[in-house]
């Protein structure tokens, strides 16, 4: 394929659009996936602990 300006533009306007939308959908699904809720709640509280040593 000839990599001229027009074909790059065509590629980014089609595949660029799709992969960005796919990524966005993926992120939203991951964020709201019900079984992740527990993990996220745990994560946001995990930094408030007071021990200052690495875990074994």
């Amino acid at each position: 394929m000839d990599l001229d300006h027009n074909s790059v533009v065509a590629f980014s306007k089609s595949w660029g659009l799709f992969y960005l939308i796919a990524l966005a959908v993926g992120v939203v699904v991951y964020t709201f996936w019900p079984s992740n809720r527990k993990r996220f709640n745990q994560a946001k509280n995990s930094i408030l602990g007071e021990d200052d040593k690495p875990w074994k």
């Binding site: 939203v28 964020t31 745990q42 995990s46 930094i47 690495p54």
Partner: protein, 545 residues
């Protein structure tokens, strides 16, 4: 500090220092009287100083305790000190260049002290010296605490920290001597750029390896921001700095990018430097130190994930708003403008998330200047991103571009957001790192807070006024269709604002000096007899949440 290293690590450190010194020698030999030669000598001196330190500690007793049972804090402590030292240097240079704009005689008729050479020492000093060291130090701290694991290396953190500062020194001294690539925020020449690539890749590997040995299964969101910062800055730096030196013995190089593509690459770099250097890493600080200081979990963890991906997706495309009304194709400008406007959504999501975290703890914000630093930072983050999205709209940009309005926007971001979140984080970090109960003086934190706020507001309002006046004067026509004002007329109108701006900057600088003193006195004060809540396992308490 050397006592934390085993004797084989000390030997490795010496070998690395010797290798760097040999590179310096080679630079000096091929560069001779060129700036490259001067920088070669500097590299040798720097490596020699490190070598001297390592050799003089070579036979100190080795660490006896198991190092894996504690976090690696020495490089963080040094990073904080370096960061504050660069803050004072960089902000002093800023006040100086600001004063030069009001009183040009302050250039003293010398080449090295002319505006064009001092300005990049200011921007490099504050962005890379102050901001960069603060990012390295806090990222080392956050990644260990959130992973519950020690840094994955004993030497590499030092290599990253010292190597990075060597880069900053080469950059700043180069500008004073008169070398520059003429790329904004990437002025340093090719050899310094290559060195930074080595340092930065080491940084990224160190970070990934530390994450890989984490004991906490979930990677806390602050780490995502720090990783995005490290990874994307590496990519930006390499692509933007692709250049060919005119000879191996010469500091001067030319970029491989031609014409308008060079401009686009430069502002793709420039805007993502704002996004990933000046925003993503500092959001990492925000998402860790603000909840810790407020002792409240972040308002919405989900929102923090969504805004993370929003920021990473959108920022990448926004750079062309720096090139409105140029030879850049119109659709590329429109693309940048559209993404810049959309960027407001994830940006405000982060700012709102931070402020909502504080909702219900306003009494603490009132009483604790450290928390107030972070609260004000979130507010300024909201303001500057709103302003940025607005300035990116092409017709608005036709008024603001080339004027002081841009400078006002920059400093709402750089002083109000980046510097305030850094000071808030450091005031949280310093007592815990040095095992002190609190900062030496809460009153001085308060003084610093008000100096910083007053300085930022004076600065930003001066530049908003000045910029809009300037922009309007340049586009005012007489009835005959000629320009109503000459350029010099607009310059005269700027004069009072330039004085106000220098004053605002001076207040901010004084605040930073007060901060240095306070940190120094905290470090020197007596440590706590018993560490706070030592080794109480909290894992069960969290698991039930």
């Amino acid at each position: 500090m050397i006592r934390q290293l085993t004797s084989s690590e000390r030997q490795n450190a010496a070998v690395i220092a010797i290798a760097v010194a040999i590179v310096g020698l080679a630079m000096a030999a091929v560069g001779r009287t060129d700036v490259l030669g001067v920088h070669g000598v500097m590299v040798m001196l720097f490596a020699g100083a490190v070598l001297f330190y390592v050799l003089s500690g070579l036979y100190q007793p080795e660490p006896t305790e198991d190092r894996e049972t504690s976090y690696y804090d020495d490089p963080i402590k040094v990073g904080i000190v370096l960061s504050m030292a660069w803050a004072v240097f960089g902000m002093f240079m800023g006040v100086w260049v600001a004063a030069q704009l009001a009183w040009p005689n302050l250039a003293f008729d010398a080449g090295w002290s002319s505006f064009g050479r001092l300005r990049p020492t200011h921007t490099t000093g504050v962005i890379f010296g102050f901001g960069g060291n603060a990012l390295i130090a806090t990222s080392f701290h956050v990644v260990q605490r959130t992973s519950r694991a020690r840094l994955a290396g004993q030497l590499s953190p030092w290599f990253v920290l010292l190597g990075y500062n060597l880069f900053c020194l080469l950059a700043v001294s180069g500008y004073l001597i008169g070398v520059t690539q003429s790329k904004e925020y990437a002025e340093a020449e090719w050899y310094a750029d290559i060195w930074l690539v080595i340092v930065w890749v080491t940084y990224f590997i160190l970070y990934l390896r530390t994450i890989a040995r984490r004991k906490e299964p979930h990677i806390y969101v602050a780490n995502w921001y720090f990783m995005a910062f490290i990874l994307v800055v590496a990519i930006l730096h390499i692509v933007n700095n692709l250049a060919l030196p005119i000879s191996w013995g010469h500091a001067k190089s030319y970029t491989v990018w031609p014409g308008v593509q060079d401009a686009m690459v430069q502002w793709w770099y420039g805007h993502n430097a704002v996004a990933f250097f000046l925003t993503a890493g500092f959001l990492g600080m925000l998402y860790y130190y603000l909840p810790v200081r407020a002792q409240r979990p972040i308002f919405s963890y989900r929102l923090s994930i969504l805004s993370f991906w929003g920021i990473t997706f959108f920022y990448m495309w926004a750079g062309s708003h720096h090139l409105h009304y140029t030879a850049l194709p119109h659709w590329v400008q429109t693309l940048g403008m559209t993404f810049s406007v959309m960027l407001l959504v994830p940006s405000w999501a982060s700012a709102g998330n931070a402020l909502l975290t504080l909702n219900g703890a306003w009494h603490r914000v009132r009483d604790d200047a450290t928390l107030r630093f972070m609260m004000a930072a979130a507010v300024f983050y909201g303001i500057s991103t709103f302003e940025g999205s607005f300035l990116a709209i092409r017709p608005v940009n036709s008024l603001s571009h080339y004027t002081d309005w841009t400078v006002g926007h920059v400093h709402a971001g750089a002083l109000g957001w980046v510097a305030l979140i850094t000071f808030g984080s450091l005031y949280t970090l310093v007592p815990s790192l040095w095992k002190r109960e609190r900062m030496y003086s809460a009153a001085l934190v308060e003084v610093h807070f008000w100096l910083a706020i007053a300085g930022t507001l004076i600065y930003v309002f001066a530049m908003w006024n000045s910029g809009i006046i300037q922009g309007l004067m340049w586009r005012t026509y007489t009835e005959e269709g000629a320009l109503a004002y000459s350029f010099v007329d607009s310059l005269v109108a700027m004069y009072p604002y330039y004085i106000a701006r220098a004053f605002g900057g001076l207040l901010f600088l004084i605040g930073a000096v007060v901060g240095c003193y306070n940190i120094w006195m905290t470090v020197r004060s007596a440590p706590l007899a018993a560490p706070l809540n030592a080794d109480v396992p909290i894992a069960p308490a969290v698991a039930g949440e």
